[in-house]
């Protein structure tokens, strides 16, 4: 992939990121942060990739640790976000 494409993607993603959260009420700040936190757990994909082609033991060890950490980040992140959001759980169906 060439640089300009990557930069374009980066710039556009920045805009999407900005726009999407620009009007969020403060009660959602923490859940949103937590959700975003879980999302960057996809580094797990990277960790798997490097683990898969790691050749030395050091690489293997480090990448296995990376996988563990990334998994904690990702799975734990989504679960804890869900728990935070429990208060919004159809407490009132009649809402609008």
């Amino acid at each position: 992939m060439d640089a300009i494409a990557i930069i374009s993607i980066f710039v556009l993603a920045v805009f999407v990121g900005f726009e999407v959260v620009s009007k969020v009420s403060s009660t959602l700040h923490t859940p949103l942060m937590s959700g975003a936190n879980a999302i960057h757990g996809v580094i797990l994909v990277g960790a798997i990739m490097v683990c898969s082609h790691s050749s030395t033991t050091l690489e293997l060890v480090l990448s296995v640790i990376a996988i563990v950490l990334a998994t904690i980040n990702m799975i734990g992140g989504f679960v804890v976000t869900d728990r935070m959001l429990e208060m919004f759980k159809g407490k009132k169906g009649a809402n609008k």
């Binding site: 640089a3 403060s26 975003a36 999302i39 990448s63 799975i75």
Partner: protein, 457 residues
């Protein structure tokens, strides 16, 4: 699996993440958003196994299992109040993972690495390590494993500046010299910098710093994505980086903190400044949005007006709020204490002026038994009439006076301008109760904001 298909699926996961953030920005769609995010992450993780060649599959799967075995129970069991530190920790390990991935990939690329790749690697390692160590410190602060006060020591400013310089220096060293040792030195220095960076941050600013570190981690993921040639990682990382940045600013605004002050406090703060900060009893103060959300998801709300409502002449606005809630299907009553205000019937005169239907007004004896089934009691410019001291503190001027027992409601919101007491001049313990949220400001101005926020939901 075909590379294009693989990439397309990755893009789909990216779209999931966008939708997840979008969803998480609105109360109604927040849960759904989180689930979409989880789906995206699952897709991304699963599909990576279909991109041969896959080696070390056993290791990989076991590592995932271990990670899940640690992460899920931790997330499940944590108490509501401890969630922020868990988020900090999760963020930290994410940052650590990114740094590790970059280091491994750096090893793997060896001499083949382009300068751009090296720069990105350096970036990932530095920021990932800062995020890791910084998050661990914030975790410890929040968990009260160490003091929550800003830690400032003489010469700290110089130490931190020196560390930063060292980090920059060794970054350049890595780029020029390549090799493992410089990278390890860089990692160590970055870890140190992360610690020094977070230590001087005071308790209230910690959430802001977590959010910032979260955005940092996002950027490291994006940088890894560049090195690993993964569009998905670029998109996901950038999204988190961008939204995290905005979010950090929003949080700082909502808390009335200066972002700059929070971040560069480390460089500018002098020890005596911070040591002098008065230690006050903590109260939970919220924003109009918070109040609006509490109200929006309530089934029954009791409005308790007092003298402050009259002072603010907010009778019309409170009626507007009540009407709005009623239109949303919420059960609303006004709980009128017989001596609220400064004249018998003060609240009646006031509310009649705003045309509040008489049948929404409930006397004390009528409303007290219902607080148990009340989700939110919103106390507007009242104080003595809800002060539990009347029941608990013999000898105080209001002892023996019957009160509106708002503390039986699931949530209590106080609208007042300050922590000052009411007519009787005695402190109200309820203000410090964990289930109480305070919305400071003139009652009319506050109510107007709550109404807008509630309309927007």
């Amino acid at each position: 699996m075909n590379q294009s298909l693989y990439d397309l699926i990755g893009l789909a996961a990216g779209v999931c993440f966008i939708l997840a953030l979008k969803g998480l920005s609105h109360p109604k769609t927040a849960r759904r958003g989180n689930i979409i995010g989880a789906i995206g992450a699952t897709i991304a993780t699963v599909v990576v196994f279909f991109k041969p060649p896959i080696h070390n599959l056993g290791w990989i799967l076991s590592a995932i299992a271990v990670g899940a075995a640690i992460g899920v129970p931790a997330a499940r069991k944590v108490q509501m109040t401890q969630m922020p530190q868990l988020v900090a920790l999760f963020n930290g390990v994410g940052g650590g993972a990114a740094a590790l991935v970059a280091m491994v990939e750096y090893q793997a690329l060896g001499a083949e690495a382009t300068t751009a790749e090296v720069i990105f690697t350096v970036f990932t390692v530095v920021v990932g390590c800062v995020s890791f160590s910084g998050s661990v410190i914030t975790f410890m602060k929040l968990q009260e494993l160490m003091t929550t006060r800003p830690v400032v020591f003489p010469g700290g400013r110089f130490l931190i500046a020196a560390t930063l310089a060292a980090v920059l220096g060794s970054s350049v060293w890595v780029v020029i010299a390549l090799g493992t040792t410089p990278l390890l030195v860089l990692a160590a220095l970055s870890l140190l910098f992360g610690i020094l960076f977070v230590l001087p941050v005071g308790g209230a600013d910690v959430p802001i710093v977590i959010s910032l570190l979260n955005a940092f981690t996002g950027l490291t993921v994006a940088a890894s994505g560049y090195v690993l040639q993964s569009t998905l990682l670029i998109i996901a990382g950038t999204l988190v980086g961008a939204s995290g940045t905005i979010l950090t600013r929003l949080m700082a605004d909502a808390m009335g903190r200066s972002l700059f002050g929070t971040l560069f406090g480390a460089f500018t703060a002098k020890p005596q400044d911070l040591a002098g900060a008065a230690e006050e009893r903590p109260v939970r103060s919220g924003s109009p949005d918070d109040v609006a959300i509490l109200l929006n998801y309530a089934r029954r709300v009791v409005i308790v007006p007092g003298f402050g409502l009259a002072v603010a002449q907010a009778q019309h606005t409170v009626r507007e709020l009540a009407d709005l809630m009623i239109s949303k299907g919420i059960d609303v009553a006004y709980g009128i204490h017989p001596v609220a205000g400064r004249m018998p019937g003060h609240m009646n005169v006031l509310l009649a002026e705003a045309n509040v239907p008489y049948d929404q007004l409930a006397e004390m004896d009528e409303v007290n038994p219902t607080f148990g089934q009340t989700d939110v009691a919103i106390v507007i410019g009242a104080n003595d009439v809800v002060n539990p001291a009347a029941q608990t503190t013999p000898g105080c001027p209001i002892y023996g006076m019957p009160i509106l027992e708002v503390s039986h409601a699931a949530n209590v919101i106080f609208l007042k301008r300050s922590m000052r007491p009411g007519f009787a001049g005695i402190e109200n313990e309820l203000l410090y109760d964990p289930k109480t949220m305070l919305l400071f400001g003139d009652a009319k101005a506050s109510l107007t904001k709550v109404v807008s926020a509630l309309k927007a939901l």
